[in-house]
């Protein structure tokens, strides 16, 4: 179905890695996995199949790519001709729909191919039935969850009936439930005899679907494996390749082994005296009778990393917005811990044991106070890069006056402090670059630098690992751990079990706006979380 003959593609800019000397064939009805580190060239392979390279991305192509007998580079009609044979699903559910309602979206490709309206309606009805999404038809797309949007994206390529489906990191922004749906969709395509090519970092959810896997490194096809070979990789070998777990049961094993140090330090329930106490958090939508979020009491251990987990729409994001104090409709307070975090050196901490005179009285923080006590690193980090240089970005977040009043606060002192924060985060060389010209990981570290500069005790992360490979995920996990080690209380929203186990000391599980569990990651806790976050896929 797809042939690569001595294919080399290099992008016109030097922004991305290309693909070099690719030879191979993907047979009709086969499901092929493209794996490897970020920047290994797997996205480029998907672009070679759907024609975006070279028709959308400028670059030089040598060799030949043939899809369903069409030479993709020279096919008359270009992208549009290839589009009839190849359907593409992308990473970001937010940016790949073109119309406002689900039915219109399912019709979109067929309308472009000038199919008669009645035939399109028939196709929509049959695809909606196959995908079990009749209830979504006619609904506005903007109101759907990320998982539902991704389902709509899959269905809308399906209506036009392409033989080949190309998915580029489709699970990056999805929770376990949505991933289970995606798995069912790929299984359906497989049954229908479609050729499916998936580029992915998260692999456990594809267990049993993969016929063959291509492992790429630096733009070259380095290793070809059958599905069974991929499944049978030893943990050591898999880690050597930098691949995430390929089976759900590997998640607990790998991570708790790598992170057993955290277990002993932390009991199974949070200690009240050393925790921030969340009290009476609630959020009620306008005109709604019942609150969407209702948390009478919860503990966030100070100087620790707490993962807030749950499915999409469970209220995780609402919870952290409440915590940050961003929304006027949020009710509730946050009480600082009575005692400083054990073993951590916090600037405001008194010596452990002198409980008679705490440095700060534990006055509960109301919404406005929390606005200046917490700092959120947003999921879409581009939304919080404002200035013309990395250094300015850090200075903008630094308060004008230091709370202690001891340190000098002149511009020179501020700059010195900012540069030392940047050096700690490995950003010293890019201090004068424009933040928007950096890589995704660097941008995220700039936001973390701003959080550090703000000097606030609580740092919140909203889904920091969407679409990261193993190595980058571990880097981010390490950053979170070091923030906690410096005495900060870290709260991280995530539905990625691998990341939660690598980064966090404990979990606050939320479902339908209520806290359903609060426990530390000892061995039992880790298994409990992994089971919770992968349940639907393994079932």
């Amino acid at each position: 179905m797809i042939h690569f003959d001595q294919v080399t593609f290099e992008y016109a800019g030097d922004a991305h890695t290309g693909v070099y000397d690719l030879n191979g064939e993907i047979k009709s009805g086969e499901t092929l996995l493209l794996c490897g580190d970020s920047g290994c060239g797997k996205t480029t392979v998907t672009r070679l199949i759907n024609g975006l390279a070279p028709h959308y991305f400028d670059g030089t192509l040598t060799g030949h790519v043939a899809v369903a007998g069409l030479d993709t580079a020279s096919a008359p009609g270009g992208l549009a001709a290839i589009a009839r044979h190849v359907g593409s699903v992308f990473q970001n559910p937010k940016s790949q729909f073109f119309t406002l309602d689900v039915t219109g979206e399912l019709a979109f490709a067929c309308e472009n191919f000038q199919m008669p309206p009645d035939e399109i309606r028939t196709r929509i009805a049959s695809v909606a039935a196959d995908f079990h999404m009749e209830d979504l038809l006619d609904r506005p797309i903007t109101n759907l969850s990320g998982g539902q949007k991704q389902k709509v994206a899959c269905a809308s390529v399906s209506t036009a009936g392409p033989d080949v489906l190309v998915l580029d990191e489709p699970s990056s922004n999805l929770d376990a439930r949505a991933i289970a749906d995606l798995r069912a969709i790929i299984a359906l395509w497989k049954r229908q005899g479609k050729t499916v090519v998936i580029a992915e970092h998260r692999l456990y959810w594809l267990d049993g679907l993969i016929d063959r896997a291509w492992y790429l490194r630096h733009g070259r096809l380095e290793r070809e494996m059958t599905g069974d070979e991929l499944r049978g990789l030893s943990d050591a070998e898999r880690r050597e390749l930098g691949l995430r777990p390929v089976r759900a049961e590997q998640i607990v094993g790998t991570v708790s082994a790598a992170d057993s140090a955290a277990d002993s330090a932390f009991g199974s329930a949070p200690e009240t005296a050393r925790s921030y106490a969340v009290d009476h958090f609630s959020y009620t939508y306008r005109r709604a009778k019942q609150p969407t979020l209702d948390v009478p009491h919860a503990l966030l251990p100070a100087g620790r990393v707490t993962a807030v987990t749950g499915f999409n729409g469970a209220g995780k994001s609402t919870f952290v917005r409440c915590l940050q104090g961003l929304d006027r409709r949020c009710k509730g307070t946050l009480a600082p811990p009575a005692m400083p975090p054990s073993g951590a050196a916090s600037a405001t901490a008194a010596t452990p044991g002198t409980d008679a005179k705490p440095v700060k009285p534990a006055k509960p923080l109301d919404r406005k106070a929390r606005l200046n006590a917490c700092f959120t690193v947003l999921q879409d980090v581009n939304c919080e890069l404002f200035t013309e240089s990395v250094l300015d970005e850090v200075l903008l977040a630094m308060p004008e006056r230091d709370g202690s009043g001891d340190e000098p606060t002149g511009p020179a002192a501020r700059e010195t402090k900012a540069r030392s924060i940047l050096a700690d985060l490995d950003l010293a060389e890019v201090a004068d670059r424009h933040p928007l010209s950096l890589s995704g990981g660097q941008k995220q570290r700039v936001a973390i630098a701003a959080a550090l500069a703000s000097g606030r005790d609580i740092v919140i992360f909203d889904e920091p690992t969407s679409g990261l490979d193993m190595r980058h995920m571990r880097e981010v996990a390490g950053l979170l751990r070091s923030l906690a080690a410096s005495g900060r209380t870290v709260v991280v929203v995530t539905h990625d079990p691998e990341f939660a186990l690598a980064a966090a000391d404990g979990v606050l599980a939320i479902d339908r706006g209520r806290v359903t569990g609060s426990y530390a990651f000892d061995a039992a806790g880790a298994r409990r979380l992994a089971a919770f976050l992968t349940a639907k896929v393994t079932a």
């Binding site: 975006l52 959308y56 589009a83 039915t103 309206p117 309606r121 404002f386």
Partner: protein
Amino acid sequence: MNFSTASYRGILRFDPRTKILFTLTVGAFCLTMLGGSAPAASAVRGALTVVSFLLLAVSGRPRAALVFLVWLGVAYAAAEWLLPHVGGFLGWFIYATLGMTTQTLPSAIASYWLLFTTTAGELIAALQRARVPQAVTIPLAVMFRFFPTVVGEARQINDAMRMRGVHLGGGKASEMFEYRVVPMVTNSVKIADELSQAALTRGLGAAPTRTSIARIGFGWQDWLLAAGCAACFAALALPW
């Protein structure tokens, strides 16, 4: 700019092209004062205003129609009883406000009716049938789809600024503008890029025309309303 998301299924279902014709007719007479002070023009204006109210009321928006009606009534009452007694700058200000209100409201009602009974898909389909080229229909479709996105982005940027203690009015105006516009443009460009890839790989632009599943087309209502609009223009030509 808020299009209906569900298509209108009531009895008075018009083709979007007819609705546009009606709105343009109301605008011509009531907003741009076609026909000046000719008695026929005044009669046409009254009739068009009444029809606009009725259309809005029977299309499932009676409350909106009532609000507009009260608004217009207050404006005319003020013109009748307040305007003759006030002079000076205040008098001019009231005069200008009333003038703008009474001129704008009828076509505002018509365009409100147009927007709330038409989905974006139907409007695009109607424009395609009217042979408007894709150079216009594609960006227009993108606009409808992108409005909610840009509002969401703006909200996130605002959150990020509040966290840093940068408030509206809390800094130089130029910085307030810069800090908002720069991330907004950056994110929009990124989304536009991803949207283009998704649209092109689904065949957008494959052919100079597209088909559409939106159910549009002319019925007896359309001919009736179109004839009414034609009659309005004909009334001007008649010697009175």
